[in-house]
């Protein structure tokens, strides 16, 4: 994991070797960086491995890497990593009319509801999911 400290900035590139003025000579941008795209707050961003199929409905599959940002305030409709009975789970957070529950995206699973006095413990908000395809 590297810090996403690289900022895209124009670089002056003079292609003197070519011997002719290039239209691209004005400025050249630095290459596209996945860290910059996916990691807004490096200090608060962690990667979590998805297990199981409880969230296939939103496109999270077994072994996918979830980008989790702890600096984001969790609210209704966001996919979160929560801690339930000492284990991490990935579910959609639902908050409505004073009720809070964790919703799966797979009909084979039941929502996780909280009893009175039981606190919901959110580890962080999932901002992206990385799925890798098998390559021979």
């Amino acid at each position: 994991m590297t810090d996403a400290e690289s900022k895209r900035s124009p670089l002056m590139a003079s292609l003197a070797v070519c011997g002719f003025p290039s239209p691209a000579e004005q400025y050249v941008e630095s290459p596209l960086d996945l860290n910059e795209l996916l990691v807004t707050k490096p200090a608060a961003t962690f990667f979590v491995r998805a297990a199981g199929d409880s969230m296939v409905g939103v496109g999270i599959r077994e072994d996918d890497i979830l980008v989790v940002d702890r600096s984001v305030d969790p609210c209704d409709g966001m996919v979160v990593i929560a801690c339930v009975d000492g284990e991490f789970t990935v579910k959609t957070l639902r908050q409505q009319e004073g009720q809070v529950w964790l919703e799966p995206a797979n009909s084979a699973y039941r929502p996780i509801r909280f009893a009175a006095g039981q606190e919901l413990n959110v580890f962080g908000v999932v901002t992206a999911c990385i799925h890798r395809f098998r390559v021979h």
Binding site: A43, A44, F46, F47, R49, S71, F88, T89, V90, F123
Partner: protein, 418 residues
Amino acid sequence: MIGLVDGNNFYVSCERVFDPKLEGKPVAVLSNNDGCVISRSYEFKALKIPMGEPYFKLKPLADAGHVFFRSSNYELYGDLSRRVIQTLHEFTPDVEQYSIDEAFIHLSSASNDDWQALGRRVRETVLKWVGIPCGVGFAPTKTLAKIANHIGKKLPTGVFVMPKDPKGLLADLPVDEVWGVGRRLAMKLRTWGVRSAGALATADEKWLRQKGNITLVKTARELRGIPQFAHEDPDERSQSISCSRSYGKAVTAFDDISESICFFISRAAEKLRKEGHRAAGVNVYLQFYPEYQPQFSEGGYTATTISFSQPLAYVGDMMKEIRPHLPSLFLEGRRYKKAGVIFFGLEAEQGRQLTLFADVEREKKTDRISAVLDQLNQKFGRGTVFSLGEGIERGWAMKRDFLSPHYTTKWDELPRAH
């Protein structure tokens, strides 16, 4: 204003971030080789088990499942420490990391002059973003900020701002709790009637200079609210750089000892170079086990002090001067349990004196080699490049039976969520 932010029971707190089952439980993190306790949760402290307690004495507790132990997961702690520092940068660009879990933050003002509120925000942000609970102390000097931090940790808010007139507070504080006053110095001060921080603050400077040293005088000034220890003043605090490890299993062969010492010299020299220092010499020591067959002989130490021909920072040159001394440290038939090296006589890179016999050109070249070695080690991981003396197969690597995964530094050890 200076704030001191430090993680509560830092290593334990790091373990809890990814293992929430450890919350609220007695947890302790063990030193290298699972030797002894080096970090305790509040619940563990409540069991009255002291810091430094050897693990073998506590094994029955672990086996009964009452108490949880973890081996030192430095990779994890280093990464979370980095994140805490990064988070502090949200509040000020002037963050001065002091140790793995402590940093001074320098701020010129707080909105509405409400330092308490700022301290709370700092604490909440670090807890939210990195999962590490911290104490925050604000004061006009580093020494006072350390005291404020200690007080803050005991409060439910975790934050304390030193009052403008701290005299009453300092009068109640024992002198050995002052930053920079060690146990020995405290004993001496007490015999001279200086028992509290307040007494140290108001002691006569000439007397302090005579009884102690300039650092003691500066400490007293800091207690009076006059900043003395500027930014990144490592020369004020660290007088030596060391590296030591216990061996995973008893070592008997001279070659293994020699190899391991070369490795420690490498590690310590890395730190030395990073701080821009050279060392005038090194203390090398070995600790061996007691023997019971055929008759009892005590365990003990062998040690030697080596003064270098000139201040050095390059491992190759150091080992050349150290190697001839190693056979004298080695006792045939003894089983060695630990070795260590301590550099002394550190001098900063700039403004160092050239000795009559210094080979300036060669030093420049070895400096460049050292810089390249450091870069390679940093890029590809520690230990990538090492002197030939270090060897490749390290049969003596340390034991870490309770090691948690490298949650944030290895792709195949990420935490999992169902």
